[in-house]
Each structure stands twice: as C-alpha cells, then as structure tokens.
Symmetry: C2
Subunit: 477 residues, 2 copies
Amino acid sequence: MRKKALYTNDPHIQALAQIVGEEAILYRKEDLIAYDCDGFTVHRHLPKAVVFPKHTAEVAAVVKYCHEHDLPFLARGAGTGLSGGAIPLNGEVVISLVRMKRLISVDLENRRAVVEPGFVNLKLTNSVANRGYYYAPDPSSQYCCTIGGNVAENAGGAHCLKYGVTTNHILGLEVVLPNGEMIEIGENGILDPPGYDLLGLLTGSEGTLGIVTKITVRILKSPEAKQTVLAYFDRVNDASQTVSDIISAGIVPAALEMMDQTAIEAVEAAAFPVGHPNDIEALLLIEVDGISAGIDEQIEEILHICRTRNVREVKVAQDEQERAKWWANRKTGFGAMGAISPDYLVQDGVIPRSKLPEVLQQIQQISEKYGLRIANIFHAGDGNLHPLVLFDSEKPGETEKALAAGSECLQACAAVGGSITGEHGVGIEKKEEMRFIFTDEEITAQTNIRDVFNRKNLLNAGKLFPTPGRCVEVKRA
Amino acid sequence: MRKKALYTNDPHIQALAQIVGEEAILYRKEDLIAYDCDGFTVHRHLPKAVVFPKHTAEVAAVVKYCHEHDLPFLARGAGTGLSGGAIPLNGEVVISLVRMKRLISVDLENRRAVVEPGFVNLKLTNSVANRGYYYAPDPSSQYCCTIGGNVAENAGGAHCLKYGVTTNHILGLEVVLPNGEMIEIGENGILDPPGYDLLGLLTGSEGTLGIVTKITVRILKSPEAKQTVLAYFDRVNDASQTVSDIISAGIVPAALEMMDQTAIEAVEAAAFPVGHPNDIEALLLIEVDGISAGIDEQIEEILHICRTRNVREVKVAQDEQERAKWWANRKTGFGAMGAISPDYLVQDGVIPRSKLPEVLQQIQQISEKYGLRIANIFHAGDGNLHPLVLFDSEKPGETEKALAAGSECLQACAAVGGSITGEHGVGIEKKEEMRFIFTDEEITAQTNIRDVFNRKNLLNAGKLFPTPGRCVEVKRA
C-alpha cells in the first residue's frame, strides 16, 4: 500500500488511522467498493472503512476503539466465504487480516505449526511438504483462502471425509474478544484441554464471538502413497450405491467426490477439461491414501464394487500428473459454472449418506419446478451436497427464484434429518433456514452465548442467527 | 429396587418421590452413604437424596422442581469419575441415570447408534461386534462406566491416540438444561452443523451446563487386523525415544502405552500378572490396527525402531489370548496399586510428546522430595501422563503430602506447555490448578458461559473452576 495523506474530517477515521497508520486504512468510496461483498454476491453493503492491522496489538486497539465508540466492526480474510459472513451489513469497520500473514513457527516433532490468520491455506502445506508433512483441510479455494477465514467458517474440503474439518486440526487460538481483551485458548496442542471447549466454540462461530489473531494447527505426515480412481456411471443411482458400498466395505477413502451430468458439462466447457463423456449421469472421484502396503488391495476392492454397480468405465490415475488433472477439474468446478450460465448460486446441504438417491431426486424436482438447471458437485462420502443453481441475474425475478430453489434444496436436506450447511457457513445467506433445524430454545441457547462474548453486538451483527420474530415454516426430521 | 413406603415428612423428598415413584428415590442416611463420593475418594459429602428417573420427562420434571425450589442438583452415571465431578459438595439431589440404560437404535448404514446416558460403554461394542463394528473410546473403566459419564468428562482411553477422545465420537445429544427445558443438538450426525458448536461445548463440561438424556454416537468398522507389541527397556529414556521415533516414522499406532518400574511391580503383584521382568525401567505396549495388508510392515518397522533404541526384549502377541492378557494387565493397572500401597492418587497431566524424558525426570524428583513413591502408567503416544502417587491415608499428613505431590506433577506439565488433565476432568480435584494454565480473563470467559446455561448455579456448583479470589501461584509455559 502506498503512503497517502488523509482526506477526511471524520474523527473515527482519523483515530483509526492513528492506530494502524495512514497507509493502512481505506475510507473513500472508490476503495471501499471492493469490500462490499465476499464470495456471496447477492447482497452488497459498503463498509465505513477498512483497516489493515499488522499485529495483534493493533487488532486489539482497533476493537477497543470500536467497542468504546459503538462502531460496528468485523474481521475479513481473503473474502472467499460463500455465505456472506464478511459482508458489512451495518456499515462496519472491516478489519482485514491480510497483512498478518506470517508462518510463525513449525514444530515437526510435536506436529504443529503456528500461523497468523492471514496466512493462505495452501502455503502451509507448501511450507512443510519438502519435509514430508502437510495441512489436511483443503477447501477448493485453498490456493487463496486464509486459515483465519477457515477457522471462522470451520472450513471443509474434499479430504475431510477421512481427515475431518478445520475444527479437528486447530490446536490453539489467540483471540481478541469483542471488548478488545485478548485470550489464548489451548495454545499448546493438548488433545482434551480442561474447562469448556472454547476452541470448538470459536471455530465455526463465523466471526461473531471474537477475532482470531494467531492459530496453532495440527500438521500431518504426508501419506506414503495415494491412488485415485475415476468412475463413470450411466445411472446416478448406481453411483450413489457405489458410495454406500465402499463405506460399508470398511474402506475410508481420503476423498469420495461426485459430479452429475450438468456439472460435467460445465467442467468440460471450462478451464481444465479432462474428456469426461457427456452422456453419463454421474462420475465418482475416489482417492485412497496411507502406507503403500495396503493401497493396491483397497483399489482392487473399489474397482470390484464399481463393477458390481454397473460402472461404464473406471480407471486408476497412472501418475501424479493425471491425478492432478482430475483434481484441478474437480476443484475449479464451481467457477466452471460460468462456462454454461451467467450466474450460479452454490448451496451446501448435508444429509445422512443413505438418503443420497432420494434427495438427489428431490433436487431434480426442485429444478423442474423453478425451471432452473441445478448442477451437483459434492462430497458424496460424507453426504455434503453442493447443488449449484444456475440462473441469469439480468432476467427479472430469476435471482429470487434461484434463492427460493436453493432454500428448498436445504429444506429437503433438513427433512431427511440433515443440515443446511456442511462447510460454507450460515452467514447472511442461510440465517432464516436455521429454523429448519433448530427450535427457538436451541437458537436462544446459542444467541445467549453470543451475547456473553459480544455484549454490545457490534461484532459482525445480523449474521448466523435468524432475525427474531421473522417466521419461517419449521420442518424437522 | 424394591417397593417401599416413604418414611419422611420432608416436602421436597415427597414431591420428588411423586415425580419418579417412591421406589425410585433414596433419602435415608444409610442409603445415601454410597453416593457420598465417586472414584475420587478424598472428599465425601452426603447428598440430600438420590432419584432414579426412567426417562427424559422424569429428568426434566426433577430438574424443573429443583430449579423452582432452589435445590442444588447434579447428574451421576456409574460414579467411576476420578476427579470428584459427581460428589454432592452442596448436599445436592443426585439424579442417577443408571435406569436410563437402553440401546435405543443402531444404524449401521450411517454408522451411528443412539443410547441412553446410563448405557455402559463396553456394552455398545459388545452389541455391534458380531456385525463387525465397535465404539472407539475405551477408558480403562469401560466395563462399568456409562456413556453419559464419558460425555460429561470427555473420556479418553488407550486407543484415543489414533481414534480421538469422546468428543470426536459424539454426533448428537438430547440435553435437559438447568431450568428443565429440553434441547436437541446435532441429533443427526452431521459433520459440521451450523451455529455454535454446542455439541463440543456440552461434551466435557463435567455436568455443569445440562444433563444429557440421549446420545448419538459414531460407531466404527472393526479393524480387519490388529497386532500388539510388548517391549522391555533397561532405560526409560530409550523407551521415551522409541515413542518419538515411532510417531516420527509416520506410524499412527492405535495405542502406545508406557509403564515404569514401580507400575510394573504393582501390576505383577496384582490380579493379571504376565511375567514382566522386575528390573527394567520401562515397558511399552504398542498396538497397530487397520487393513491386513500393511500391518506386518508396520510391525517390522516398530521392531526395528525398538532395537535401534536398545530394547532388552521385544515380542509380538502370538494370538488374541496373549494380546488380551497384556491389555488386562495394563487396564487394571490403577487398581493394581492396591497390591503395593494402601492408597494411591491418580494424576492426569498432558505434555507435548517431546518433553516426555524431561517431565518423567521431574516427577522422579517430586517423588524424592515428598518421600512418596510415584508410579507411571500412561498414554505415551499422546503425552497423557498418569503419575500414581502412592501413600497411606492412615499416616498423619500423608494424604496432604500426596495431594501436594500430585499438584506439583501437574505444575511440571503446565510449565512445559502442557495441561492439568487429559481425560479425567477437573472436578473438585484440580479446580485450583486451572490457574496453572488459564488467566483470569480465560476463566471468566468460561464461567460467563456457565452462568448463561446455569443461571442459578444449582447444577453441580463448585466444580471445574477455581474458587473466586483464592490465589494460587500462576505459572505459564
């Protein structure tokens, strides 16, 4: 950021500039516009200002100032979140953590690393890979999303089936509370620390309980071997059944991904085509990893299961290059929708694995009802669906139709005993849908906790929980 | 329980008997005496009464009654807890959950089971073993402890190194809140449910936030193969170094246990001797499990590492009978102390694995300082130490010395960046030691949460957190 003079008489801007430095604050409309939304682009609001603290003390000072002057504020990482958690709904002071991006330490003997919140997810694996280690949570945005944002959203990823989501890999946090006080929780990587599980409580709290300024994460030994299988199915039901059979056989794949026909059309039309046939109903991407010894037997069993479920074609990646190609095709899948539709809305429901065929059927019916195509690219192994509702925001009423169709997909998930979000968070997008799965008492138990941390409700207000009094039809499994 | 008439005019006892039935309440001193402590026998207090509800509605009605009449109350499972969490410090109404012991359902396809809180841990594995499944958390008391108690304490066990502690296996809870309201959280086994992680918050909250009345747990496919290694070392440092080397080699053993010389003396003098030599400084019990294919190679590597670290003798269990014998010897290790000492106090510290030799050395010094023998039987793989302080409560002042020695062991753990409890909980025993690892702000953040749930502080008061104002020297890593 270049040095510049301050062209404003706003005393709050001046005070904040005193804290972080004049070169580390944005306040003019033309600068703020880049911060009016995150990966959820349906709502846009301008922040009051954006500050770029360099260390925890600056974060704490900004928070203290906001707290004392009743200024709403929120934290932001790379802004890749998909549910609007970083959108300044109330004209917040946005505390951008992108300058706090150091890898503070790596302790291989005890398998942990300490990072600042603005450290990019994939960089951590890149930093320890040459010594045979990696960081497991791998959201598709891992090449640019930050670990601080991952903590806020309890981010998942393709390999969470075997390795768990972010919360399973966070060992400690330094947190600035909404009043500017600082606490450290579980900082030493203890498996089951005493007292309440504040670490779990903060992880996935979507930036409503505090601002994370330092993170101790678990790093894992890289698996000795990996094998990846690609399987094409004429019938989506056969693919679903294959997923169940693999899990029932006692195999725990590192990843077990599914794409349906519309998704395949999109990824083949976009940046990383791999030549998938255009007339199959579904493909599975299945990866196993671990010590070399057992891998071949597991692959044999997976191939056998695919064949008993009428697979059209199934192949094992011949080398790392082929494997990487298949994964690039999968991981850029959401963006690929741009190749076949002007706009798309990603949804993020979860269902018990056994309900997969039934819910995919319902999503198809919702697609027909609204006259909007819905693609499905998802983590089939753990029942985490991602219906992508394709629409054109320039056609009057179509955005609203897409939002309604997305919400109905979530209702279908909730109705079979599932959930309204697996890894993208609630944010603004799904806060009314919280009522699909929580009673008033259950929501109150949560907002009571928020109010203890966030007494003035200045930190990221209006997110995560439904608007009190607004009524949405409640359907429980 | 036999039917009996009520011999009391106490209106509260009469009202509680109305709720649960006259045959399901104890209130006479001779009956109450069995409930004056749990596995932590240093403190004893008589409850006001013990009630035995049969289902959630009765639990809720008892809680509501206590809440309305300002009667302190707490929940109790099998009473095997080791930190005093179920001791009725304030003359509580004890809500015993032993009659709520049904296995409600098993859903193999989605890998989960629903149990009542009084269901015994090991019975779950026994119920699904013939279909090839098991429940992973295996505290040494698993043959009698209840899953409700496991949730309260976030219980661990020998196999938690690979499989995680109780919190990693709990998918849903039905909870009666301290005011008698009922909530369900995460009831459908969703990996990353939206909102705050109440499931994590309740698990390990030591009965201070609510009473769990129904539990959905994860069940796992039984590993195809298991192999167990027993290794004897002349030097405890070689054993410690072997632990580090195994983990560094990328092997994740299912269990990696250590016993020192004093512990070996005790287990050989007690119920399940296996003929360990009496002149070794340490033994390791190492188990690997998984698919058959890779097991032999892992065992070879473990044997190789043991040999490079000067093992005196190392052997692989030849059959399930030999394996079971080794484990029985290990799992009854705490009780075995009775064979060499009138009394013993179990401690439960956690340290970064790399600090093992240093802290074992310090425990030896503490033993010499107090003139009390200290045995060590512990989960070496995850750095969870269990120093067992041997003493004689009939010798004046020796109980106090044992408590002080135990506390110093925890201080040594905290000083190297560890923790004061790995799996036994804080309860009464270690509440002042919470200050070794938490600042006032960090404790307040937790008691604020407690006060939100437990506004009147009637539920299990005086546990888990230090007494306000009482000062203990704070030493942080």
